[in-house]
């Protein structure tokens, strides 16, 4: 890996966008949106459930994995 190739990695890391999966505290409704700074799993957030308008909490925080290079086999 050269310095030029590693710059691609730096770009990939800086463009990594974490997502928060919110879950309603009352019903099973789930909602995926961009992660906001200061959030953590289980935190109750300001978003309201689109179905029943109850408060929602952060169930999971994750990133989508970068695309893997195709194997030649």
């Amino acid at each position: 890996m050269s310095l030029k190739e590693i710059n691609e990695t730096f770009k990939e890391i800086s463009s990594m966008k974490p997502l928060s999966l919110l879950k309603c505290t009352k019903c099973d409704e789930k909602l995926e949106r961009s992660y906001k700074e200061g959030e953590y799993a289980t935190k109750v957030v300001e978003d309201k459930c689109p179905k029943c308008a109850s408060p929602m909490y952060v169930k999971l925080i994750y990133v989508n994995p970068p695309p893997q290079p195709q194997s030649s086999y």
Binding site: M1, I6, P18, Y40, T42, Y62, V63, N64, P65
Partner: protein
């Protein structure tokens, strides 16, 4: 024909070529090192570090080391190892707190993670440079070859550690945090209203599941810490003794090449990847009261364990909870009790209630 009379010429030429290729790769490791230090400096500045002394602070942190206990006489080695680990952590935290005076206790654990990553990136760069300089000094082709052979692995290792930095600076869960994430979701699922601080940076919540009592334990979040689960398990087992019918540990585990990320497996023993003291305490506590010790692992690559958690791992939480429930139905009679421990770094994972 002429070269036959000067056998060293081809070897010297190959050494020069190899060293030149290594020098190119060293630039990559150096870049990781510089960026690691820069991120650490930014974090220290954020929490009130003196900008004029920043280089000195960063250098002291990245050069920080600990010396493992002597193992020629293994008697009591785990106690000594635990002491060194605790002391090292205490000292590093004190250093960070003195450099970044505006930091609170929770964020200090996260800054500690950033410091650890910067420290490792510096170490990788330093070791690679050492062997490069050694090969150059003695014009030794064989030393140069060895460092060239392992260079791709070193770059990959540095790259993976570097990927952990955004997680530590933004407080996003990392792959290793799947165990605590499962427990935090169990707190929510069973409506655990209150969790107790049981010391050693660990928390415990009580829940009921089909007439069985569940003791759900994880490290105290959302700062980046693993706590001391062994000490806390021992404390809880000593309290409830054989009323606990099973101890279930949930942890991330290294997958082999070709295995699927996020695949779940179940086995016997304590699923914990510490250097020894915590695992020993869990095993000892289970053995004392003959409590079955069951492990659930969520497989992932080393790079995935230390970088922000990927969707493929995070979405396994509900499946792991189902597995735990199935195990409890099988192993704990109604009215019985189970201790479920989520092992791993609780960065970005709160305390449920």
């Amino acid at each position: 024909m002429v070269l036959q009379f000067f056998p060293n010429i081809p070897l010297n030429w190959m050494t020069v070529r190899t060293l030149s290729r290594i020098a190119d790769k060293l630039k990559v490791l150096n870049e990781f090192d510089i960026r690691g230090k820069k991120t650490l400096a930014e974090q220290l500045k954020k929490y009130g570090a003196n900008v004029d002394k920043m280089n000195e602070y960063v250098q002291e942190i990245v050069e920080y080391f600990d010396i493992g206990p002597v193992d020629r006489d293994p008697y009591g080695i785990l106690n000594r190892l635990e002491y060194i680990i605790d002391l090292s952590r205490f000292r590093l935290r004190s250093l960070l707190k003195s450099y970044a005076p505006n930091i609170d206790e929770g964020t200090l654990s996260t800054l500690e993670n950033t410091a650890a990553v910067a420290n490792i990136l510096h170490l990788i760069n330093k070791v690679a440079k050492h062997y490069y300089n050694l090969a150059k000094k003695f014009r030794n082709f064989y030393i140069a070859q060895q460092i060239e052979f392992i260079m791709p692995q070193l770059i990959d290792l540095a790259k993976n550690y570097y990927k952990a930095l955004p997680a530590t600076t933004q407080q996003i869960p990392i792959g290793d945090g799947i165990g605590p994430l499962v427990i935090a979701n169990m707190y929510r699922k069973y409506n655990v209203a209150e969790v107790k601080d049981v010391g050693n940076e660990m928390i415990l919540g009580e829940a009921y599941f089909e007439n069985r009592k569940l003791l759900l334990m994880k490290a105290k979040g959302p700062g980046g810490t693993v706590g001391k689960p062994g000490a806390s398990v021992k404390q809880i087992v000593d309290l409830y003794k054989d009323a606990i019918k099973v101890i279930i540990t949930i942890d991330a585990a290294s997958k082999l090449e070709g295995e699927e990320t996020g695949s779940i497996a179940q086995g016997i023993g304590a699923a914990i990847g510490d250097p020894g003291p915590e695992k020993y305490k869990i095993e000892e506590a289970a053995l004392t009261y003959r409590i079955p010790l069951v492990a659930i692992i969520i497989k992932q690559g080393f790079n995935e364990a230390i970088s922000p958690m990927v969707k493929q791992i995070a979405t396994k939480v509900d499946e792991v909870i189902e597995r735990v429930e199935k195990l409890i139905r099988e192993m704990v009679p109604e009215g019985g009790m189970a201790l479920v421990v989520g092992i791993g770094n609780t960065l970005g994972v709160g305390n449920g209630a």
